[in-house]
């Protein structure tokens, strides 16, 4: 089933790119139909896993990637009716494809989750964290488009994509909204994570690599939101959003591949 979703993601990416190049409206509609189909199939796949595996379904790194890709696509589809954001979709869709693909390639059997973790606290920690990451990912895509558009306007050179790009204000407003929501979700994820840690390890904070990196990420986004209140909008905000997401990716890779700690594998 996941392969079918992957196929649809790939087709949606190529039709969306061809829409962006040719501005053919039929292509846009086909791309969005394909993407919706992929989203549905992906959702069925995740639902099936959750039913058969229970809490184990969200315990590994590939599961996390798959969930995040799914949420990203959902977020984009909920914006797609605005019509002028296809260029954002042109980044979100391939990114979701890559995430889903790596979740498929690196899939591991369900881990032996420690029975102590088998509680509602696990989804309570994981769900907001995944949502937050996905929201940050979409905000990251918007920021890239913002910088592209801003550079063209400043340099007074219209690139080939110029006509397809949404206005700076649209992108900046969406960026603000997304980062705010992402930050709120991420914060909830950290708090519920700390409570979960208290329950199973007996301490709110144990200097786990993921804890440290998440704290750094959290501070970056907090800084970004604060900076907005003193007028750091536009290009600066976009740059910080990109930095924030780089921190997310680093903590992601760091935790799962470089120094796994308790989060990365056994959760012992």
């Amino acid at each position: 089933m996941l392969l079918l979703a992957l196929g649809c993601y790939l087709l949606a990416t190529s039709t969306l790119v061809s829409h962006i190049i040719t501005t053919n409206d039929l292509m846009r509609r086909i791309a969005h139909a394909l993407l919706s189909a992929a989203f549905l199939i992906h959702g069925l796949h995740l639902g099936e896993r959750a039913l058969t595996l229970g809490y184990d379904a969200i315990a590994t790194f590939p599961d996390e990637l798959s969930c995040i890709a799914f949420i990203m696509v959902g977020l984009y589809l909920s914006l797609a009716w605005r019509g002028n954001l296809t260029v954002v979709g042109g980044l979100v869709t391939p990114l979701a494809f890559l995430f889903t693909l790596s979740s498929y390639v690196f899939a591991v059997g369900p881990p032996e989750l420690s029975p102590r973790l088998q509680s509602v606290w696990l989804p309570a920690h994981v769900a907001p964290a995944f949502l937050g990451y996905a929201v940050f990912a979409v905000a990251f895509c918007m920021s890239l488009i913002y910088l592209l558009q801003e550079n063209q306007l400043k340099a007074k050179r219209k690139g080939n994509l110029f006509r397809r790009l949404p206005s700076l204000e649209t992108l900046d407003n969406l960026n603000f909204r997304f980062v705010t929501w992402g930050f709120a979700l991420f914060t909830i994820g950290i708090i519920s994570g700390a409570l979960l840690a208290l329950k199973i390890w007996g301490a709110l904070w144990s200097w786990e690599p993921v804890e440290v990196l998440s704290a750094v990420t959290w501070m970056l986004y907090a800084g970004l939101l604060h900076a907005r209140t003193i007028g750091w909008r536009g290009r600066k905000a976009a740059t910080l959003t990109i930095l924030g997401f780089v921190a997310v990716i680093l903590s992601f890779l760091g935790v799962n591949l470089v120094f796994p700690g308790k989060h990365g594998g056994t959760f012992g």
């Binding site: 400043k154 007074k156 219209k158 206005s167 204000e169 007028g231 536009g234």
Partner: protein
């Protein structure tokens, strides 16, 4: 052969405005259309009269004669000597005429390629002809096709995309910076002509409000009233600047009226909400260093001209795509037209052969009384197959894509098979 399509008239490519204005149909179009049908050999007609072209689209029984008589028709009643008109006359016949009509509808033949008005004008002309009843089967089909071709080109190419004048380029850019203009304020500094034009564009695009300032306050008041805006004393410019999202500089001043440091201060007051500065004056009124500030975009006349120029060249690139769509559609239409002409002959030919076949079949079957139903069916099928095989090749030729050829074959077929001339339909 049915009537020939032809378009004859003057357009901006070949005729100067002095000629076009003399040919223009100024009076009642209905009246002129009725007159058109009384021109010898004209069967159907539509008159297109705009400031860039005056053209008659007609179906004529005899093309060569029609060109002559339509030239007289165009020169009629005007002081323009026929000789002078002929010099500037454009004549399109047959396929060329269909292509020309499609190109006009798609705005590929316009002065500014892609401008949208021409399609509406074409529709009006066709409407007028329909209500008077001067458009027949061929022109109905031809015009409807031209409208759908125009639509197809509009959606499949960017031939109408992008602003091609300085002030519309400014509006286009404003829409790339701001989500919507309804909740934005503009400020016009200097009440000259260029500034007024740009301001009018912004107002037409729905800008929320507009402040007008000018060294002579009275002029500011006057223009503000005209634009539905608010006049602001020139000395108060700095104080009001923070309210403006879009600033148009268009004074005759020799120095910078708004400097980078003023904008920096303004931005702080505005909490760094973006600003768009448009400098339409030469020498420039707005400090070029303004563009280096964050969240601020400054375009001067040359920058805007560059944007408009880019759009123009993009339009001509897209026009090439459009031309190939035109070719494709002309082909389709032409096939329909040739078929339409061939149909009576083909039907008559089929009827003739079928009558012979039926007659002979009956005779044979009557003499074969003992034959089983299977044998009868086999004979029936065989005769039908022979008839179809023999007709296949003549019918293919009758549908020849070249109208002249097709007409030649039709005449030959009628003669060879002794078919009567079809009734004029």
């Amino acid at each position: 052969m049915q009537g020939e399509i032809l378009i004859i008239g003057v357009n901006h490519r070949a005729a100067p405005v002095e000629v076009r204005e003399q040919v223009a149909f100024n009076g009642s179009l209905e009246h002129s259309l009725r007159n058109l049908l009384s021109v010898p050999s004209i069967e159907e007609g539509v008159i297109l009269s705009t400031c860039n072209r005056v053209e008659v689209v007609a179906i004529a029984e005899d093309g060569d004669n029609a060109v002559d008589s339509l030239t007289d028709f165009l020169a009629q009643g005007e002081q323009l000597p026929r000789r002078q008109l002929v010099e500037h006359l454009s004549v399109y016949r047959g396929r060329e005429a269909v292509r020309h009509l499609f190109r006009v509808a798609a705005s590929l033949d316009s002065m500014v390629v892609g401008e949208p008005q021409i399609l509406g004008q074409l529709k009006d002309s066709y409407q007028a002809a329909t209500s008077v009843g001067t458009a027949g089967t061929i022109l109905h089909r031809c015009f409807h096709k031209s409208f759908s071709v125009a639509k197809r080109i509009r959606t499949e190419t960017a031939v109408a995309g992008g602003a091609v004048s300085v002030s519309s380029a400014a509006v286009e850019l404003a829409c790339k910076i701001f989500d919507r203009l309804e909740d934005k304020n503009a400020m016009l500094v200097g009440a000259g002509e260029m500034g007024e034009l740009a301001a009018r564009h912004l107002v037409a695009q729905g800008i929320g409000s507009i402040l007008v300032t000018n060294r002579t306050f009275d002029r500011a008041v006057e223009l503000a009233r005209d634009l539905g805006g608010t006049p602001v004393p020139f000395e108060e410019l700095r104080r009001y600047l923070q309210m403006a999202d879009v600033v148009i500089g268009a004074t005759a001043a020799e120095e910078y009226i708004i400097t980078s440091s003023v904008v920096q201060e303004t931005l702080r007051q505005r909490k760094f909400r973006p600003m768009f500065f448009i400098d339409l004056s030469v020498p420039r009124n707005l400090d070029p260093a303004i563009n280096d500030l964050d969240n601020v975009y400054l375009y001067d006349v040359d920058d805007l001209g560059g944007v408009a120029e880019d759009n123009r060249s993009e339009r001509s690139r897209e026009a090439e795509k459009a031309e190939s769509i035109i070719e494709e559609e002309v082909d389709t239409f032409w096939k329909w037209l040739v078929n339409l002409e061939a149909v009576p002959t083909i039907v008559a030919l089929r009827d003739k052969v079928e009558t012979i076949r039926k007659g002979e079949l009956e005779k044979t079957l009557n003499s074969l009384r003992d034959a089983s139903p299977e044998t009868r069916a086999a004979i029936e099928a065989m005769t039908a197959a022979i008839a179809n095989k023999i007709l296949h090749s003549p019918i293919t030729h009758l549908k020849h894509h070249d109208r002249q050829e097709a007409a030649f074959y039709a005449a030959a077929a009628r003669k060879l098979f002794d078919i009567e001339e079809p009734e004029d339909s």
